[in-house]
Amino acid sequence: MTAPLLSLRDLRTEYRTDRGVVQAVRGVELTLHRGEILGLVGESGSGKSVTCMSLLKLLKRGGHITSGTADFDGVDLLSLSDRALTRVRGDRIGVIFQDPMSALNPTMTVGRQIVEVLMQHRRIGKNAARARAVELFKLVRIPSPETRIDNYPHEFSGGMRQRVMIAIALACEPDILIADEPTTALDVTIQRQILALLKELRDRLGMAIILVTHDLGVIAETADRVMVLYGGQVMEEAPVADLFAAPQHPYTRGLLAAIPDPRLAGRPLSPVRGSPPDMRSPPPGCPFAPRCPRAMRICATPPPMYDGTESARLRPTQRSRCWLADTNAPAPTPEPAE
């Protein structure tokens, strides 16, 4: 196996707020390989977005990283100076957000915004940068690119604006593209276009993508490997097919069971009971324990991250942070009949 492109260890990020300290990320580990699409899935407050924004030190006011290392091609991103990190951002790591309008400058044509990125990171003249901008617009399939690059952000639809954002993020051919809920604000037909585009660009350019989403459908359509986050921690990690075919963590199972199944239309859904934890005072053990139908007494202590070598229940490529993955855990209850 080749060395990972990015290796994040023991990331902890906090937010100071008027109402106390929010422990947003509590020891997240993440490995990303070249050319892979890693899905980060979780609900609001799970820590999925903060994990990504910590990597780029793009934290909102009050946020700070209290521990962790992020080895990116031999360099620790988390210990870089702001200036050095700025060089990495936009050059080797691109990022797109849920709302492209907030990331684009409304007073500047989109073409100029791409040209600026290129001239900042590359020794390149204005004309060459403009030609490259047109090329990028073609790459993300914006119709009539030669005229569209002279438009302002508000002159684009939501879907086209997200394509502009992708074009800017790809301007310097980054090794990693971080996509934080890139289709959440878009209509479903536009979402499918953008997801197809991301997969195609990965195939053509070979970059790795970290895809943050709350939508398991988007994960199933797009990701190669998935990490499920809850309460600021990774609950389960597996190749996408394994995660859906044989979810191990009770939280993953609960999430999958809550999706309406067309074969059971009209019957009550199976929600996860209770509410997510208050991250100012998360539960001492497993964050999911208070809502978990299979919680045991030991779940008041933090479970380790089991992998396939430590647990007879897990596949070699699967990991689960649950006491049920321990070889001494009680046998799983039989699955309810389909």
Binding site: T189, I190, Q193, L197, L216, I219, A220, L256, P268, P271
Partner: protein, 330 residues
């Protein structure tokens, strides 16, 4: 057939803008029966939220009629409308965000009762306690403030407030979109129970098509201010007849990696509602469009039992959609 609870006849809501007339709703007719859940889907700008606001008379429609249980309420003034307001209530994406944050949950839920002059302070308190129980919050929630609640709990407060006046119809505008997946199912189950227990009807507006299939009896599909197809929920999913419905269905991400589709999906975008295509509004994105579609706007026509479609070249009845096929095979 008994009289429908709600009838919309050729409902029209045109807004004048600097750039011309925005035809947010351009002649929509539909009915909702007592105890029925009618789902409404469509992409942004299709007019589904405008329809909701026009039918609860937050707007005064610029054309057509809204008939509630036999009474035409299209042009009634505030005073004449008051007795009818009780019968139709609304749930929003974040109900509490629109409400006074200085009021306790109990006060918020009692407010509609007070406005309508129903009961005494004491009987209203008892009613609030019963409503809180009904939505699974417990009577003790009455003295707390909404900001202390999670998103799912706040939606329960919104629902308690909406059902306080025992309405016949509740209009739900994206009621679960802002909620986490694990909480959405809680709210949807609760809405189903309320319907079963009280016999109320819902107009359920959402972009979550798989959830809609789960809860709706019938589903209407809107595109650029028009209703393009309406049918029983199951028929609309397994055998859509309008090419737009088929496009929508095929775009839903399927939560099953085995059914993954890796094809490019270039189907264009919705045209500007200020510059509508001639003829059929969907023709610019439609694979079946012909010269006829550019000239003549198709009417919504009832094709077979309960399945109506506005298309010159509808898909054959009983054809199976792509997504459905994949799901069954999975």
């Amino acid at each position: 057939m008994t009289r429908p609870l709600l009838e919309l006849h050729d409902l029209e809501m045109h807004f004048p803008t600097r750039h011309g007339v925005l035809k947010a709703l351009d002649g929509v007719s539909l009915t909702i029966q007592r105890g029925e859940t009618l789902g409404l889907v469509g992409e942004s700008g299709c007019g589904k939220s405008t329809l909701a606001r026009a039918l609860i008379r937050l707007y005064r429609p610029t054309g057509g009629r809204v008939v509630l249980d036999g009474t035409d309420i299209t042009t009634l003034g505030d005073k004449a409308l008051k007795p009818h307001r009780r019968r139709v209530q609304m749930i929003f994406q974040d109900p509490v965000a629109a409400l006074n944050g200085r009021m306790t949950v109990g006060e918020l839920i009692a407010e509609p009762l007070e406005v309508m002059g129903i009961g005494t302070a004491k009987s209203r308190r008892a009613r609030v306690a019963a409503l809180l129980d009904q939505v699974g919050l417990g009577a003790e929630a009455a003295d707390r403030y909404p900001h202390a609640f999670s998103g799912g709990q706040r939606q329960r407060v919104g629902i308690a407030r909406a059902i306080a006046l025992e309405p016949d119809l509740v209009v739900c505008d994206e009621p679960i979109s802002a909620l986490d997946v694990s909480i959405q199912a809680q709210i949807v189950n609760m809405l189903s129970e309320l319907k079963r227990d009280t016999g109320l009807a819902y107009l359920f507006i959402t972009h979550d098509l798989s959830m809609l299939r789960h809860i709706a009896d019938r589903i209407g599909v809107m595109y650029l201010g028009k209703l393009v197809e309406i049918a029983p929920s199951e028929a609309l999913h397994t055998a859509p007849r309008h090419p737009y419905t088929q496009l929508l269905w095929s775009a839903i991400p399927v939560p099953d990696p085995e059914a993954r589709r890796d094809d490019a999906f270039e189907t264009g975008e919705v045209p500007s509602p200020l510059d509508l295509p001639s003829g059929c509004r969907f023709r610019t994105r439609c694979p079946r469009a012909t010269a006829l579609c550019a000239e003549v706007e198709p009417d919504l026509t009832l094709h077979d039992d309960g399945h109506a479609v506005a298309c010159h070249h509808p898909l054959p009845a009983g054809s199976t959609s792509h997504t459905q096929e994949e799901r069954e095979n999975a």
